[in-house]
């Protein structure tokens, strides 16, 4: 394999990895703060992509504005989901909410099939994002630059928000001890709503970016990316936002390099992610950058 070829594989891997990283951020943030694995994250991701699709189709607003509005709108759907599916169960054991999350996920998938139809839709990719740059012999799509940039910006913005702002501080307090936090005058409902809003917003941004890179929308499109980004979040240390980004890159690069160097194992592409999950759970259950979690009983 020539150097050029290897560079192309590397570019492909980084491109896929940054997409995984983007979706994993939202996943891990909701977990980090609420200790809830939001299994519907992948389906919110799907909704984000579809809402953008309809936004571009039925309105004449410029595409980048549609991207932003659709993501915000999806954020509100996430907020609604929390109100309906999770809030009534807040005092219940954690496993109940987990199962409610699985139910929400199934509901959204089937809602998608009924409302959007089973046949795939072609995501309208803006021409400017369709361009390809050729550097020497390596071809890189514009999206490949846009996605990591968006990921890094969101990562920095989110880190700033959580560590520096008052709401962020409340979020961290909530993640440490929920009852004490409420005794300190923190409006628990508001903070949880904000957390879900941001988490769903991030999922939607991921959905939009996914759509521009792989412009085929299907009601079940969120299932595999959802699972993989969950794995990425676990690899990085679930709850840790920087870890999620690192986990996403490891997963994306790993997948591409696996197919590149061991083409016979292509059929095990998805299995690769799960094997990686098992290994990390055996070797370092807290993930690469995870904190030590003491189980609250």
């Amino acid at each position: 394999m020539g150097n050029l070829n290897f560079l192309q594989h590397l570019a492909n891997g980084i491109s896929l990895g940054s997409l995984y990283a983007l979706i994993a951020i939202g996943y891990t943030m909701v977990y980090g703060i609420l200790r809830l694995i939001n299994f519907a994250h992948g389906d919110i991701f799907m909704l984000g992509a579809y809402i953008t699709y309809y936004g571009i189709l039925f309105t004449s607003i410029p595409w980048w504005l549609v991207f932003i509005f659709a993501s915000i709108f999806t954020g509100f759907i996430g907020l609604l989901l929390e109100k309906i599916a999770y809030r009534p169960l807040r005092e219940s054991p954690r496993i109940t909410i987990l199962i409610s999350a699985i139910g929400a996920s199934f509901f959204l998938q089937n809602f998608g099939i009924v409302v959007f139809g089973g046949r795939p839709k072609a995501f309208p990719v803006p021409n400017i994002l369709n361009k390809v740059i050729r550097l020497g012999g390596v071809s890189v799509g514009i999206v490949t630059f846009v996605i990591p940039t968006v990921t890094i910006i969101l990562l920095l913005g989110l880190t700033y928000f959580i560590t520096k702002t008052k709401t962020g501080m409340a979020m961290r307090a909530l993640s440490k001890d929920y009852e004490t936090a409420s005794l300190m005058g923190i409006d628990i409902n508001r903070i949880i709503s904000i957390t879900f809003f941001i988490g769903s917003f991030l999922a939607a941004v991921g959905g939009v970016m996914w759509g521009t890179k792989y412009p085929q929308l299907m009601p079940l499109m969120g299932v595999m990316p959802g699972l993989k980004c969950f794995i990425a979040a676990v690899i990085g240390g679930i709850g840790n936002i920087t870890g999620a980004v690192i986990g996403g890159f490891i997963l994306g690069l790993g997948e591409i390099l696996l197919i590149a160097f061991l083409p016979n194992l292509t059929g095990y592409r998805d299995a690769f992610a799960f094997v990686l999950l098992i290994i990390i759970l055996l070797v370092k259950p807290t993930g690469l950058m995870g904190e030590k979690i003491t189980e609250k009983v």
Binding site: I99, I102, G118
Partner: protein, 386 residues
């Protein structure tokens, strides 16, 4: 406490799995003697949704045209097999056991048809496939028939096109390893291509992927390094459209060829400019009607759907009409009688051509080659079987 959680988990899983088994078709209660029930199992959702829905359009059109046979009403029971092999087997069982259908039509996707093969054989209910092209669908199964050609022919047609029309000396093959259709068609293409070029090393790369994959950049980068004259990549329309997009983005500019599954509006809309020039074989085109039934079908389709018909609708139409014809000739709607009638079907004039079923239950028909030009499928030529 822990025990309680475990129980809760178990119960919810049971509920989920039982819900997943439900199907969308209405319960009509079997056994009534004044209706003849024909079962249809096709992918209405999932990776093959477009193919299944196009086929069902054709079946429903045929049902509207001929809703009665032997003085009894014909009822269609349509079940979604969700583009999933397990669901497909369940759908076939359900049609036989619950709805007590006398014959089954389906399914788009060879893997989905093969999943139901053993079930129809055991229950002794005949099935007629519209577009599953893998030879294994009907092989050693006296109860499975089809109204389309099979892949040994389709693979040869495309290899011929690559070598004789494009002058290709080397080829790369990219197949979907989870689809029997794609794996089979690739194999026949490879065999034919090697024979035509007389060079055992003319296939420079064989790559694979899975249904549901969205990223093909690693496979394509490997293919690009081998510099083939042509790429053969049969697979689902969605995956194929993404694959071709990514190939063009990587700077691969050689012709890309495929099979009949590419004929769907989604292939064009998802592929965009990238699929311009893509060439594939299929069963039928509205541009070249073959029989007087083609004309009737095209007219009826245009009237109902206000667009030109596709090959899958035509095959769905034919599959239904073949069953009606067989019931009429046999004078009975007994599954066994229908099977025996189908096994002897000869010279049936369908929308897609004259259908005669051979000893395996396969139709021998001509193939059409289409090309994508200006965002539309354009008819190139018709290839007759040898």
């Amino acid at each position: 406490m822990k025990k309680k959680f475990g129980l809760l988990l178990l119960v919810s899983m049971l509920i989920i799995s039982s819900l997943a088994g439900c199907s969308q078709s209405q319960d009509t209660g079997g056994g009534s003697s004044d209706v003849i029930k024909i079962g249809v199992f096709e992918p209405m959702t999932g990776a093959n949704a477009a193919g299944g829905q196009m086929t069902v359009e054709g079946i429903e059109l045929a049902h509207e045209a001929k809703g009665e046979v032997l003085g009894k009403k014909v009822e269609l029971v349509i079940v979604d097999n969700k583009s999933d092999k397990v669901e497909s087997a369940n759908a076939a069982s359900r049609l036989i056991e619950k709805d007590e259908v006398v014959a089954i039509i389906g399914s788009y996707g060879s893997s989905l048809s093969m999943a139901a093969g053993d079930i129809v054989k055991k229950a002794e209910v005949p099935a007629v496939g519209c577009s599953p092209t893998n030879p294994l669908v009907t092989l050693n199964n006296d109860y499975y028939f089809r109204v389309c050609f099979i892949d040994p022919f389709q693979g040869t047609v495309m290899a011929n096109y690559a070598v004789n029309d494009l002058g290709a000396k080397t080829a790369a093959v990219i197949q979907d390893v989870t689809q029997d259709y794609s794996v089979g068609l690739s194999k026949y293409f490879i065999d034919a291509f090697k024979e035509l070029t007389g060079d055992d090393n003319s296939i420079v790369e064989t790559s694979s992927y899975n249904t549901g994959d969205q990223d093909f950049s690693a496979q394509l980068t490997n293919v690009k390094a081998k510099n083939p004259d042509v790429i053969f990549a049969p697979g689902n329309y969605g995956e194929s459209a993404l694959l071709i997009r990514q190939a063009r983005d990587l700077g691969i500019d050689v012709p890309i060829l495929g099979g009949d599954t590419w004929e769907s509006p989604e292939f064009l809309s998802i592929g965009g400019d990238a699929v311009e020039g893509a060439v594939f074989s299929t069963h039928f085109t509205a541009e070249a009607p073959v029989t007087n039934v083609s004309g009737i079908f095209l007219e009826a389709y245009r009237e109902k759907f206000e667009k030109e018909a596709n090959a899958f609708a035509a095959l769905g139409y034919d599959a239904y009409m073949v069953i009606m014809d067989t019931i009429e000739k046999a004078g009975s709607a007994d599954p066994k009688a229908i099977r025996d009638g189908l096994a002897e079907l000869e010279g049936f004039v369908g929308a897609t051509g004259n259908i005669t079923l051979d000893e395996n239950g396969d139709a021998v028909k001509s193939a059409v080659i289409n090309k994508v030009e200006n965002g539309e499928f354009v008819y190139l030529t018709t290839v007759e079987p040898k």
